[in-house]
Amino acid sequence: MTVDVLERQGVGSAGALPATRTPPADTAPAVEPVLSIDGLSVGTGNVDIVIDVSLAVAPGETLCLVGESGCGKSLTCLAAMGLLADPVRLKAGSVSLQGRELTGLDEKHLRQIRGRDMAMIFQDPAASLNPVQRVGRQVAEALVVHEGLGMRAAMHRAVELLDRVGIVNATSRAEAYPHQLSGGMCQRVMIAMALACRPRLIIADESTTALDVTTQAQILKLMKTLQQETGTAMIFVTHDLSVVAEIADRVAVMYSGRIVETGLVDDIFDHPGHPYTRGLMDCRLHALSATSERLAAIAGTVPRPAARPSGCAFRTRCPKAAERCETLPLPRGFAAGQTVACHFSGPAQ
C-alpha cells in the first residue's frame, strides 16, 4: 500500500477532509474549483522534490503558497502550468483546469491553454521580458496568438491593458524596450501580459520579491484590485508573510516538498497548527518587534530532497520532535477549514 493511499485513508478516518480535496463551505465557495491539483509529485531521477501535493483554487479566490526557499513552491506552480524543464518532470498526480485534465496533454495543446486560460507572472520581471522587443508588442502577442487579432488591433488593446495596470503615458511606454523601464514598471507589463486574454487563473511566482517595498505594495494593491474586478482565481507564491497578510484568502504552507498546513488566512495567523508555521510566525513577530530575546529563526535549513529525513521532514528542526515523528503525519482537521500534518496538533480551542 502506498503512502498516498494510507494518507487518504487516514484523512477519511479522521473524519475531516482537508480543504484541499473537498473545500468546506466556509473556506471556499461550493463551486467547481478553477484549478485543482491532486496528489502531485515532481522530481528528477528517483528523487522527489514535490510530494503528493493537493490544492484547489476557487474563482475569485487568492491562495498563498508559503514556505522557505527550496521547499517546492515554484516547481508546484511550474508543474501546474506544464512548464517543467528537463531533468525535472511530473511523476504522479493530476492537474485539472476548469475540469479539463492537463497532465498528459502535449505541448501544442498546452500552448493553446497557457496564456488564454491560465497565465503566470514570474519573479524577475526584467529578465522575463524579451530585451529586444518593445513591451507593447510583447503584451499584444498574447492577443495575436490566442484571439487571432491583427497586430494593429492587438497593439491598441495592449495600450489599454498597460493603462489599466497603472502605466502612465501607456501609448508612448508601449514603444519602450524593457531596459528603459524600471523593475516595477516591467512587472506591471508582465501583469498586463498575464491579464491580456482574461484567464481564469493567474499564478504569481514571487512576483513582488525582486521589487522594493514601496513598489511591492503598489503591485500587490494593483493585483488585488484587478482580481476583484475580473474574478480571476490566483495562486500567489511567496516566502514573505506580510505579503500573505496583505493578499491571501487562504494559505497553504509548504515544507520540504509537502503541504504541512492549510487554512483561511486569519486562522493561520491567529492559531497556526504546525510547529513550522508557528516558527514562521515567530520569525515575523520578532522581525516586527525587533526586540529578540530568544532566537527568532528556525534553526537549520530545509533539507535537500535527496537527504530528507523519514517520516515528518520537519522533525530535525522541530522543537517538539519525538519518536513518533519518524512516521509520516497525515493531514487532519485542526479547526474548521484548517488542516495540519503534525502528530502533535490537536483541534484548536
Binding site: M81, L83, A85, E107, K108, R111, Q112, I113, R114, G115, R116, A119, M120, F122, D124, A127, S128, L129, N130, P131, V132, Q133, E141, A142, V145, H146, Y177, H179, Q180, L181, S182, M190, M193
Partner: protein, 312 residues
Amino acid sequence: MNLRFILTKLFRAFLTLVLAVTFVFVVLRMSGDPVTQMLPDDAPPSVIAQYREMWGLDRPLPEQYVHYVVGILHGDFGFSFRDDRPALDVVLERVPLTLELGLTAFGLTLILGLGAGLLAALNRGTGVDHATMAFTIFGHSMPNFFLGILLILLFAMTWRILPSSGTGTWAHLVLPAVTLGTSYAATVARFTRSSLLEVLHQPFMRTARAKGVPFRRSILGHALPNAGIPIVTVVGLRIGALVGGAVVVEPVFAWPGIGQLLVNAVAARDLAIVQAVVLLIAFTMVVVNFLVDITYGWLDPRIGVVRGEANA
C-alpha cells in the same frame, strides 16, 4: 538607435580608413625601391634616376605621402606597368567576378551555417546535433586550397560532373563557392548553435511559453532576434576571411577575380596593382564593419543608448 551612435561609428570607420591608407603607404615603401626591382640590374643610373623622378620617388617622404593621398582622393591609384593602364581600371574590371564568387559563397554560408546551427541547437544531444558538429570540425580543420583540390579531384576528374576551372555558367561557380564557403559556414553554424542554446534557457523564453506562443513563433520572434547579435558579429568579422580566402581559392580554380590578380601582381612586382587591391580590400572591410555595427544597433536596442534616455 540614434544619430549620435551612427556618427560615432562613421567617425571610427573614417579613422580606420586613414590608418589603412597610411599603412599601405609605409609597407610598400619599406618593401624596397620599386625602380631597382623593376629595371634590369645593369640599368644605367641615369635611367634609374629618370624613373625615380617620373614616379616622384626622389621627393621627401612627407611630400610623397601627400601626393599619394591626394591621388587616392582623385581616384588615382597609380599606373600598372604590366597592363600599361591605370591600376584602378585593371582592378575594377575584376571586381564583379570576385563579387559573384564571394556573394555566392556568402549566401551558401548563411543558409548552410544558420540552418545547421538552428537544427543542432533545437535537437541538442541527438544524432543531428552530433553530425552537424562533426561537419563543423571538418570545415574548420580543412584548409581552403586543399578542400579545393579535393573537390576538383572528385567532382571534376573522377566523376566529371562539374568543371574545374574558368567562368561562365553557374556550374563553374559551384566548386569555388563551396570551397570558399565551407569553413565560413562551419564557424557560423557553431556560433548559431551556441548562442541559440544560451538564449533558449533565458527566462523570457519561458515567458513566451507561459504566454502560449507557438513553438515556431517563439523561435523566430524571440530566440533568433536575441541570438542574432553574436551571429552578426561572427558573420561580419569573417567576411574578412572570405576576402582572404578568395585570394587563395581563385588561383586554384583559375577564377579571374581580384584574388588571382593580386597573386599575379605580387609575383610580377606590379606595385600599383598590389596597392590598389589592398586598399580596395581594406575599404570593403571598413564598410562591412560599419554595416555590422549599424546592424547591432538595429538588433539590440540596448546598444547606443545615450545617458538620460533610459527613464527608470
